[in-house]
Symmetry: C2
């Protein structure tokens, strides 16, 4: 890969589109996604003019850069949040996460059942669609709330906590889907119990390290002589938690997020915390996050929109309706105001990130390979899910900005 | 590549060894290199225990991370230097660079002629050895002077300027070597003239952009609304200059360095400059540079030491003697004190970085492929050059620390 050339073009385009978005009173994230979509269209139309961009999403180096983008974004989100806020919001967050997972999952399976042709893989395909609708993209949600200045509000904190719980719940769904794809049947109950035990082990281990070892590390920092020791300490912890998360079946972004959670002002001292926060923010928003969001836009492929337009429209509509009814409905039921329940529903809507990875795995596993003659849905499922992911990620911040601009109806 | 696992192990090991080095009153760079050597030995002994580390130096993702390490280090070095200091030191720097290039080149060719067997490739092999001895590793030199607190002294500035000139001169040598390897004969005079014209074009273009566009950019910064705009501006400029450098036949590190040179306190304002400096320093010394220096140590392969010990010892001795006589001698001739001339000779001695890349290219081009029966030198040239690069990079800071500790004899 022509590393510096690709980074140059992506960074200059995303920042220019982001600036334009801000001038039009939209979150810069929207500009960055559109920059990716525009570049993707340009590359598709003139591949010989932009050879370095052809097949970029399969390039291992580029995927690493976008992974680092998610990693830094989640680390920063963790630094900005405090564990006690998550505990405070746990009840409503779990309700929102469960509602926001079950309803879209059921809708996805139902839509699949209605549109997909008979076949051996039909149930696995339906479940894939359900999982695709159920997963919230935590990195996108984090960025949207930050862009809108709503990260630290009660609604914002509920959305983030719920999105993280959603991410954890989705692992159970993923295990189910993976078992269906590889074994042809549902996983044994024991496997699910084992997975849940591993997830519990991750949070127990990180809590012990975060609450006991990090404060010790913080107090010993002045005794180390090495330059930039505190930054290394954060990266070592975050890489360690990311490795642990992957070992125990979680996504590495959970490890980065949890690291940030336990590295607080009190743990390591105010000046050191500010230095770490400033570096992480600069690298995230000034460099890696725009490239990550552009990469989501770059993946967009509109084939499905022409070949199976009804299916695409239904999936996109259900993506919004599912989170609105599930997450927003759950929030409403536990006493959130109408405006805030709507904000929660929209805030949980962006897909993208992990979802695109899962769709790629399903594609490679051959889940969409066998379509009966005349059927246009199965062959377009991958493209449909990518369209849904991009559309929800672009529209959510635009809608959310309007929702937050409305007068609060009390909470 | 198991990205986070590899980064975790490398960062924790380099920082631990670096801390140990500091406690033993050695630059932390020495600890980082030794960490890489120790890990490399461990991996060679127990490859099945560390599968993620086997073949790491051929892994595209890992090479990208180390490239980013060089990139950040050179960008930071540029930020720390001012163009007018380079102009002030230009006369002595050019003298030191030329002396430090011609003498080791001649010594390398002579050593090659003495040790290498007759053959079609003999002259190309001799020239390769000369080039290997002539190139100074700018990133290593920068780091050593920073570790020793000598970056801003007159001697330090002369060494850095000379090392950068050396890097530029080495491109002409490289063009010669590449032509010999691919065409079997020296390049046409026109090609060398063309190369020099391209190098001049790079410096003219970057000077125009740096002196005219950067100050405009600096003044317009308050008008942009995007978050972390100043960091993006530096990265966009640095990626752009890196791409331009590679287009015009220079190494990308020259582009990163020149970007830093033109981004000064006056160009963009003190507060913004400090923010950029702080972020670059944190990312460089807290994360990427230790991994880059460990990667140099990881490459070490001691085969040559057992199979062609005399050749290895002579090459390592000539590596130090060549820079001492050439760069130090030139410094002495233009009136530098004995202590400072010695410091310049030692400071120009570290190889590693670019050199290892060139050795890899020569290896792939088959320069060491045809050895006559019974000959042990040709087959061990690659390993010898790597040993020389590592030894000079490890020993230079250790010797330099002693030289600077000695009483200055006036200048």
């Amino acid at each position: 890969m022509d590393l510096f050339y690709v980074l140059l073009i992506l960074l200059i385009t995303t920042r220019a589109f982001g600036e334009l978005a801000e001038r039009l009173r939209q979150p810069s994230l929207v500009g960055e996604l559109l920059a990716g979509i525009a570049l993707g269209a340009l590359v598709a139309a003139y591949p010989e003019t932009f050879p370095a961009f052809v097949g970029l999403h399969d390039n291992e180096v580029f995927v690493t850069i976008t992974d680092l983008g998610m990693f830094f974004l989640m680390l920063f989100a963790g630094l900005e949040m405090q564990p006690h806020k998550i505990v405070e919001n746990a009840k409503s967050a779990i309700a929102v996460a469960c509602g926001g997972m079950v309803v879209p999952l059921a809708l996805g399976i139902a839509v699949g059942w209605a549109f997909l042709p008979e076949g051996d893989l039909r149930f696995a395909q339906c479940l894939f669609l359900g999982v695709a609708l159920a997963i919230t993209a935590v990195p996108a949600t984090v960025r949207i709330l930050m862009d809108l200045g709503q990260f630290h509000t009660k609604v914002g904190q509920t959305i983030i906590s719920a999105a993280v719980f959603d991410d954890i719940l989705s692992l159970v769904l993923l295990a189910w889907l993976t078992a269906l794809m590889s074994l042809g049947g549902p996983p044994a109950a024991l496997e699910i119990v084992f997975l849940i035990a591993k997830i519990a082990a991750f949070f127990a281990a990180t809590a012990i390290i975060g609450l006991l070892v990090f404060p010790l590390l913080g107090r010993s920092m002045p005794h180390f002589r090495e330059q930039e020791f505190e930054i290394s300490a954060v990266f070592v912890s975050a890489f360690g938690f990311a490795v642990l998360a992957e070992l125990l079946g979680l996504h590495f972004i959970v490890g980065a997020f949890v690291t940030g959670l336990y590295f607080g002002r009190k743990t390591i001292g105010g000046a050191r915390f500010e230095r770490i926060r400033s570096t992480t923010s600069a690298m995230t928003f000034g460099f890696l996050a725009p490239i990550f969001f552009a990469s989501i836009g770059l993946d967009l492929n509109l084939t499905a929109l022409f070949e199976a337009p009804v299916f695409v429209l239904v999936v996109v509509a259900m993506a919004f309706f599912g989170k609105m009814a599930g997450a927003g409905g759950a929030a409403k039921m536990i006493g959130t105001s109408n405006r805030n329940a709507l904000a929660i529903g929209v805030g949980m809507s962006p897909r993208g990130a992990v979802e695109l990875v899962i769709a790629g795995i399903a594609l490679k596993a051959g889940l969409f390979a066998e379509a009966p003659p005349g059927d246009t849905v199965v062959g377009n499922m991958f493209s449909t899910v990518v369209i849904m992911a991009v559309v929800t990620t672009v529209l959510s911040p635009i809608i959310l900005e309007k929702v937050f601009a409305a007068k609060p109806d009390g909470d």
